[in-house]
């Protein structure tokens, strides 16, 4: 289970970085969002990802997963959602002002 988690994180970061390096700004935003999801998975993994164990302490000797990272991830996902929404609106405005959504349409950025 841990191995599949690691592979997923690696793939997400890899695809995310690839998309960050594209010329299209929409791909940049998708890339950012994939990277933040990879970070979320790392956070889930930090509590010891134990597959199907629930993060709830039930009566009896049933094993349970550490609930804290899952609570943290829930918060992080909500924040990531808000940020993605903001970025998409920003992109919409940029494409309206500049008439395009490619890196080459950005004209006033300097060092």
């Amino acid at each position: 289970m841990t191995l599949s988690l690691i592979l997923t994180i690696g793939t997400l970061v890899g695809v995310g970085v690839f998309l960050l390096l594209r010329r299209n700004l929409l791909k940049l935003i998708i890339g950012l969002s994939l990277i933040s999801h990879a970070a979320n998975l790392i956070l889930v993994g930090s509590g010891g990802f134990l597959g199907r164990r629930p993060p709830i302490i039930l009566p009896g000797p049933l094993p349970y997963a550490d609930p804290l990272p899952q609570a943290l991830v829930l918060t992080a996902i909500v924040i990531g959602f808000g940020v993605s929404a903001f970025l998409l609106v920003l992109l919409y405005w940029i494409s309206r002002v500049r008439g395009g959504a490619a890196v080459s349409d950005l004209m006033e950025l300097r060092g």
Binding site: L20, L25, L28, L32, I35, S36, A38, A39, N40, I42, L43, G45, S46, G47, G48, L68, P69, L72, T75, A76, I79, G82, V83, F86, L87, L90, L91, W93, I94, V97, R98, L106, M107, E108, L109, R110, G111
Partner: protein
Amino acid sequence: MNWVPAPILLSLATAILCSGLIRWRRAQVWVSLLGSLATTAAAGRLLLLVWEAGPQVHVMGGWSPPFGIVLVADLLSGSLVALASVVACLSLLYSTGYLEEREARAGFHPLFHFLLMGIHGAFLTGDVFNLFVFFEVLLLASYSLVAYGGTGAQLEATLKYATLNLVGSAVFLLAVGALYGLAGTLNMAHLPARLAAAESPAIVLAILLLFVAVFGTKAAAFPFHFWLPDAHSSAPTPISAMLSGVLIKVGAYAILRLGGLVFASVQALAQPVLLGMAAVTMVVGALGALAQRDVKRLLAYSSISQMGYILLGVGLFTPGGLRGALLLILNHALGKALLFLAAGHAVHAAGTRDMQAMGGLRALLPGTSAAFLVGVLAIAGVPPLPGFFAKLAILQALLAAGHPVLAALAAAMALATLLYLFRAWQWIFWGTTQKEATHAVPIGMRAPVAVLALLLALVTASLGPVSAWLTEVAAQVRSPEAYVGRVLGGEVGSPGAQGGGPAR
């Protein structure tokens, strides 16, 4: 009555009220100003309480630490909250004049108070993940505020700012995950003991360096500073003052808090990295500023350079270095806010940001010219202003710690600061009038500049007590036993924790 969450809650309440009043522009402005005054008063009260009775703790939701999230105000965070709320108050007053003549878009005031809430929260929280949440609050608000005018330059600067800081946030989460995996707690007072007991300091050091990269991005430390000149120069002027005056200090505060408290066991190991970053930041900022003709870009680059000085003091972590860094934070918060706001007058009057196209504004704006000079003297570090003593303390600390090369570099960059700031003052206010400047500057924009200049004069006049105060703050940062004791010890039940949450 527990005062620790008061600045956060008052900002939040003001933001919500302002959102509700979005159609009633005048009422919104009054609520916003009053809310910001109330926040400042609460911050002052909190600081007084911390001074009299030691660190204050608020347990959120009644979950006792280290399990629940705590808010902690010690001298460092209390002082910074007070400083931030004062600068915010003045920026807000300035914005009432600044926005008057521009297209009135809704949402400025709510966003401003959300920004303030994030700043206060980041200063006051005692939990690493909660720090992440408050960082996101303040970043999201600041993205929207930088893009506020909706011009092409602002939107592009926001995209760059947001992209770099979002990658930073992902690394932040990664570091939080690693920290939790290693220590099993995220409470700042609980972490030091757990980390000191960790089997290999190498992995603790690696996590600390991840955090340094994250907060270096927020504090615009080299090589993560590239977003700052664009974002700080294209933002509306009162927001530039907030970003440069307060926001980048949150990054420095986080490095200081984590390095001094949470990662105290490996702090010395990370020192070469921090000092190197700080030195390059200082040089890159100063050289960048020397090359600018746009007044706001010059001030933005100057902020990078000053952050380099602050991080030098933070990285040294000696009493003298910390005192210098803290004094420089105070000096830069007031001085750079003053410079941005005063430069706003000049830009407003001349209708351009190109300093060489301004010229001769002294006749039209004599008060602004004098105030700008005060800011220049403060940031450039000319005695008797506090900037001089701050840089002197950092230089002495560098020499005492055996870094003569860094000290020489810092001295040279102080001269460069003097050069580019005086040149800017000369370009803007002296010489022949190049343009028939026509715009009168409204009173709402003049008053905050005058107040900031007076505050700088006040700090200069009472440098002895200020310095003694900062020495005390530095001492508390270097020996956080009181902080840890208040959060984890039995004292939590006393004055600290009565206000919040249901009875346990």
